[in-house]
């Protein structure tokens, strides 16, 4: 418990320790702390920003979806209208086609009956001529009465 040189030795030791601490211990630790504090603050800010952007994106997405839904309903309505229209058009076309086919068939039938009539007429004329020839064998000279006979054939 005597005061001696230890007092001075301790003072010097203390001063050296403080100097060392000030030079090599305190600054790196504090700067690391500061850097980390900044990093954490930046990270938190970025997270906040991200959250905000996410909210905006979600809002945008729901808006887009709403629009899309409206558009889809529109398109469906249009398509239905168009389908009805097409069906109607097809009905009209089919009816026309049918009418045309019926008309064509009718014309053909007319032609056929005309042709048959022509043929019949020819045959009947020939028969008439043959009949008449049999009846009038002697009196009728085919060549002499050809003009007459032709006139009769045309009248039939």
């Amino acid at each position: 418990m005597n005061i001696n040189m230890t007092l001075i030795g301790q003072s010097i030791t203390f001063a050296i320790f403080v100097w060392f601490c000030m030079k090599f211990v305190w600054p790196p630790i504090v700067s690391a702390l500061e850097t980390r504090k900044k990093q954490i603050a930046d990270g938190l800010a970025a997270a906040d920003r991200g959250k905000h952007e996410l909210e905006l994106a979600a809002r945008r997405a729901s808006e887009t979806m709403h629009e899309a839904k409206l558009k889809a309903v529109d398109i469906i309505a249009q398509a239905e209208k168009r389908a009805i229209q097409i069906v109607e058009e097809a009905k009209g076309v089919a009816k026309d086609e049918g009418d045309r086919m019926i008309a064509a068939a009718k014309a053909e039938i007319g032609q056929e009956s005309h042709r048959a009539r022509e043929a019949l007429r020819g045959e009947v004329a020939a028969l008439v001529v043959a009949g008449a020839a049999k009846v009038l064998r002697r009196e009728v000279d085919a060549s002499a009465h050809a003009v007459l006979l032709d006139a009769i054939k045309n009248e039939l």
């Binding site: 418990m1 005597n2 040189m5 230890t6 030795g9 030791t13 403080v18 630790i29």
Partner: protein, 280 residues
Amino acid sequence: MSAEAHTSTEYIKHHLQNLTYGQHADGSWGIAQTAQEAKDMGFMAINLDTMGFSILLGAFFLFFFHKVAKSAATGVPGGLQNFVEWIVEFVDSSVKGSFTARNPMVAPLALTIFIWIFLMNLMDLVPIDWIPGLASAMGLPFMKIVASTDPNATFGMSLTVFALVIYYSIKMKGLGGFVGELTLQPFGKWGMPANLLLEGVNLIAKPVSLALRLFGNMYAGEMIFILIAIMFSGGAVLALTGGVLQWAWAVFHILIITLQAFIFMTLTIVYLDMAHQEHH
């Protein structure tokens, strides 16, 4: 070390004596074998145990912290770094709370004071006969392992702090300002002697109270450990009581050693803050 070989008084005295190296009365240099020899060496002697343990602990502290500081990562800190950063932040917030001026020296100073005193005080928790016993087996007559129970150590620190207080007082306020602070208040220039007396006491009280507070607390704590240790030689019942008491006192002492380190640090910060402030 065995208590049977000593009387209680001798035992206590033995534990309170530093291992002193200096010049004997006959002119030769060596280690003092008795308390009287150590006393006779006067000022030109050195307490080897105080110096040794304090330097060892201070070097341990600086080595440990320097290792962490070198590899201090800004990413996720490991366990050791966490621990060091926790202490550094604690000291830093203490400094920021009490020290208003700007001085890059104060925070490292506070950290050094806090950890160094804490470690020196911590040696008090080592059972008091272990290391002195080991030392006497090695032929050393005394060994006092708690450096802060040596007034040389506490005054060494407090006088260094005092020197800093005076240095910064003069640096911040100028020599005139510092002298003016000592002589011109509180009573104005006509009460100069009274001012000088009051402010002088005020100034001198700073290092004295710093050193004596720490020394007194640690010395008393050590003394109680010694007294408890004497009980160990007083039969089974007394020894058992002593064991319980030692444990209880050690637990309580953990609080004291931390508190004393903290008080020394805080008062140093406050004194330096006062040194930096202009009153006029």
